[in-house]
Structures are given as C-alpha cells and as structure tokens.
C-alpha cells in the first residue's frame, strides 16, 4: 500500500454547499463501490485527513470523483484547491459493497448518495433501482449521473421541491414492496438506518449500510473511528475504516 499523489482535474460546486472533485492518479488501483479515499488537507493546521467515499471512478482515465459537503474548516480548505494542484490521497480503503444478486435497491440520503455511482460502475451488469432523498431541490446531487448509468431513479425531497414529497426511507420501503429486490444497500445519516431497520419490507432481504465516523489513521491502527456492533450476541467496537465502512444492518447497534 502507498500514499498517492493525485492531480486535481476539477473541483466545482455541484449543489448548495456541495463540491465535486475529480482526482487523477498515475496508477489507480482496483476499486470496489463503497470504499473510501483518505485525503490530506494541504496545510499544516489540519492534521487529520478527510475520509470521503469514492463517488465514482474511471479505470481507463485513471480518475476518481469525490463528492463532499463543505461543513468545516478542512472541507472549506479543500474546496479552495485549484485545478492541477496535487493532493496526497490514500486509496482504496475499507471494505466496499459488491452486489451478489441481480436486482439491487440502492438508497441514498443526502450526501450518502455520493457512494452510489461507484457501485454501479464496478458492477454495471445488474438491475438497479435508486431511491434518493434530499432536504430540498438546492441539495440534489447525482440524480442525473445515476440515470445516465441506466438506473431507475426515484427522487424525494422533504418539502417536495424536487421529485416526490416525503422521506426517502418511506419512499424506499414502498419501492422495496413493489420491486422485491435481491439486495439493499443504503447510505445516509444514521436516522435513515434506524427507520429502515424498523421497516417490515426489508425482512429477508440482505441489507447493507455504510457508516461514517470521525477517523484518525484510516487504515485500522488507531481505533478512533470504532462503532458498536452485535455479533453472535456479543457487543463489540469494530473499526469503521477497516472492518467497515459497509456493515449488515442487523449487526450494527443503531
């Protein structure tokens, strides 16, 4: 494994408070959907890297896309990085999600949607239904990109300003009832997992979720990002960065 120096090919605003960065690598390693990249903020004030899911990738062009919300000083600094500048990046990290079934339901809540395109890129030969949820129309990202990949996209916003009005977990439950997918993958804030876990519709369908936690090393050494899971009746803290970020919804202590 090595730390890579990536060239920033693009770094643009794509929605309210949301940026999309394209990074070029001289040698892009194989990537699975759901994996993440650990990017060093290019100054001395920020000692922790920022973990972002790999939004999408292009094997031939040797690029990845990262979609990130500007929420603090670190992401604000990253948003200022200009084209052709370099960033140190560790990738791919964590255990991703590789669909085993044929008919896959993908659910994205807010910035959690940013993990979905790479899953389709890595496994294009499946049938995907994607439910996306955002606060309002100004926050909507990636709906067109996912449609362009051949997925059936159902968009929902809390206030109905784009797509249908409602919460994405409820919309997804309806779609699961209709489509009876082989598998479900969901990424969003923790509340969406809590709601989804209560839905009778997911019973019997393997459901994976992707967790987010503040990280230190990103490679499994420092135990900073640990979350609680229940395995064989025993509760334990496991590493989001190395044992996850993708977990089965039934094992995570929500």
């Amino acid at each position: 494994m090595k730390d890579r120096s990536a060239v920033v090919l693009a770094n643009e605003r794509v929605a309210d408070g949301v940026m999309k960065m394209t990074l070029y690598f001289e040698d892009l390693p194989p990537i699975e959907g759901g994996q993440f990249v650990h990017i060093r903020v290019p100054d001395g004030a920020h000692v922790l890297r920022r973990p972002f899911c790999i939004c999408d990738f292009d094997k031939k062009e040797r690029t990845i896309d990262v979609c990130y919300a500007v929420v603090g000083a670190g992401t604000a600094r990253l948003a200022e990085v200009e084209r052709m500048h370099r960033l140190d990046a560790l990738l791919p990290l964590g255990n991703g999600y590789a669909p085993k079934g044929d008919r896959i339901m993908l659910i994205g809540g807010g910035m959690g949607s940013a993990v979905l395109p790479a899953i389709i890129t890595a496994h294009p030969d499946r049938e995907y239904t994607v439910c996306l949820g955002f606060g309002d129309v100004s926050k909507v990202v990636l709906a067109d990109e996912l449609k362009a990949k051949g997925a059936k996209v159902i968009l929902a916003t809390d206030n109905g300003s784009a797509g249908e009005k409602g919460y994405v977990a409820d919309v997804a439950a309806r779609m699961i009832r209709q489509e009876k997918p082989d598998e479900i993958f969901c990424c969003g804030p923790e509340i969406i997992y809590k709601i989804l876990a209560q839905k009778s519709e997911i019973a019997g369908i393997p459901t994976k979720i992707s967790l987010e936690q503040r990280m230190g090393c990103g490679i499994g050494a420092c135990l900073v990002c640990n979350c609680k899971v229940r395995r064989a009746g025993v509760e334990e803290y496991v590493r989001v960065c190395k044992d996850g970020p993708v977990f089965d919804i039934t094992e995570v202590a929500l």
């Binding site: 730390d3 060093r40 000692v47 230190g216 090393c217 490679i219 900073v224």
Partner: protein, 302 residues
C-alpha cells in the same frame, strides 16, 4: 557519523520510535514501509483484560492538532502475547510494550506478564487522560508515580520507561519520582487534557467530553518539559509531542531527548515516521555528526 542510540542497554538503530496508540501493533503501517526502518515501535496500551474503550466520537481535530478519547481499547495482554508479540519478534526493530491498569495490582500483574513477551522494554502508561479510573490518577502526584514505577520495576525483568503526563504541577518532580522508583527512562509528554465544543449543539465534540490533545500545537509545551526534565534527572528521556519532521526531532534531542516518538503525524501521513527517520539519517550523514552529541546541547540565551 552515527544515528544509533542506546537506552537502558537497548540499542536503537535510530532515535525514531512510534508513539503508543497511534500505530496499533505495527501491522497496518508495515504495509507502507518495513518496520525495520524505525528505531522502535511502542504498542497500543495493553491491559490485563481486553478493554472496549469509549463510545464514539473518539476524536476531533483542533487547530494544529487533535483530541482523542479512545479509552485504551485493546485486545488484552494475553492476546498480544499470542499474536502481535510473536509477529513483531520477526521484525528487526525494538518493541516497547505500553501497559496500563486501573489499580496498582493491575500494573504489577501486567508488568509480570510482560516478562514472557518478546518486547524488549515496557512503557508505563500512568498518564492516560481518557479512562475513568487509574491511568492518569497514578500519574499526577510524584509519590504515586514513584510507587507504581517501583512496583513494576520490582516484578518486571525488562527496562521500565515511565510515561509522564503534562497535566501536573511540576513534571520535573514527577520525572525525579520515576527515577527514584527505578525507571530506566522517562517518556514525555502524554497528551494535554482538553475539550472541543460544538457551539451549535452546545455539546463537547467527544462522547467522553474531555480528550487528550496532541499534534504540532503541543510541541512548544513538550519541548520545555523535556528540557526541564533533562535538567532534573540522570536517566534517558524519550521526547514526544507534535513531532512531524526531522527538524522537530532534532529540537527535542537538543532539549535533552535521547530518542523521540512520532504519534499524530502518522495520521497526517502514513509514512511520517519512516520519512523522519530517513531525513534524520540524511542530515546526520551530510553533517557528519553523531546524533548523541546533540542530546541536551541547548544553549540558553543569556
């Protein structure tokens, strides 16, 4: 020219050691570079029984540093002896087992148990600010620093390094106490107790409320404390606190550190410790110096 240093009869090929809690047991960083490039590695804090640690969030960034409250999550000393200790025995690097406890009996028990380890040295963690009992409590008063050090030295056949907390009245007094207790060396500083607050939610950023601060922002505090301790004790000092480059390492050695530990910088760059060891070796070669000659060579302004 020479980069090798010796502490309590243990030879380090260079003075760069990774700091406890930032490096696991070396396996992950071993994917980036051979651990033999380092002088030593300090293990994650070990306890007699496995420990779950604190709920998340366990870390947050602060300007020029970070706060952590992992809470000594570790697999326990038995598991260490069966697995990581055996793996590390194959590596050409000094291994220092960092040990912690909640009671004096815990420290004695783990100090005894570590006699069976390959690890060549023991670092006593009596300064962890993130566990409810023990740890830090032993690290505050000079009398308890001496007591816990002496108790472990009595049962442990390996050289004992006492890791000192900066959250004390006078760290030099605690260094003297460790020396009086028979410590072969002291390492300092552990993290500075701190808090980060989210003004929106009016809550501390860490689930544990408080955490230990580390990173470049603590370096000036650490340098002064290393110098203070260097002038207080005769045993070797291992300096740490915000080291992120070979010039940082040089500054600590000039202030009296025989060796240094690299911690938070491992997160900023996974090859930080390797890079620092390499750059330090280049510096020593280019200037044809013995690194030992720098130790405590600080010249104060008149």
């Amino acid at each position: 020219m020479n980069t090798a240093v010796e502490i309590a009869g243990v030879k380090f090929k260079n003075p760069i050691i990774t700091a406890s809690g930032t490096f696991g047991f070396g396996a992950e960083y071993g994917q980036f570079y051979p651990l033999s490039a380092l002088g030593g590695i300090c293990t994650k804090g070990l306890t007699i029984k496995p420990k779950q640690g604190n709920p998340p969030p366990r870390a947050t960034e602060v300007y020029g540093g970070m706060l952590n409250a992992v809470g000594l999550q570790n697999p326990g000393v038995e598991r260490f002896l069966e697995t990581d200790d055996k793996r590390l025995a194959q590596e050409d690097v000094v291994v220092i087992a960092n040990v912690a406890g909640a009671t004096l009996d815990d420290y004695i028990a783990i100090g005894e148990r570590i006699n069976d380890a390959h690890a060549q040295m023991v670092e006593l963690n009596i300064s962890c600010p993130n566990v409810k009992e023990g740890g830090m409590a032993f690290g505050v008063l000079p009398s308890s620093v001496e007591k816990v050090t002496a108790a472990v030295v009595k049962v442990c056949k390996k050289p004992v390094i006492t890791k000192l907390s900066p959250n004390v009245a006078c760290i030099a007094d605690n260094a003297r106490a460790a020396e009086a207790g028979g410590a072969a060396a002291v390492s300092l500083i552990n993290t500075l107790s701190g808090m980060a607050v989210d003004w929106r939610t009016r809550r501390p950023a860490l689930a544990n409320n408080n955490g230990g601060m580390s990173g470049p922002c603590v370096k000036p505090v650490a340098l002064k404390m290393v110098w203070d301790c260097f002038n207080a004790v005769g045993i070797p000092i291992i300096g740490l606190g915000g080291i992120a480059s070979y010039t940082d390492a040089l500054e600590f050695m000039i202030c009296g550190a025989r060796a240094v530990q690299v911690g938070t910088a491992n997160f900023t760059s996974p090859t930080a410790a390797y890079d620092i060891a390499r750059d330090l070796a280049d510096h020593v070669a280019q200037n044809d110096i013995d690194i030992n000659d720098l130790v405590g060579s600080l010249v104060l302004n008149g």
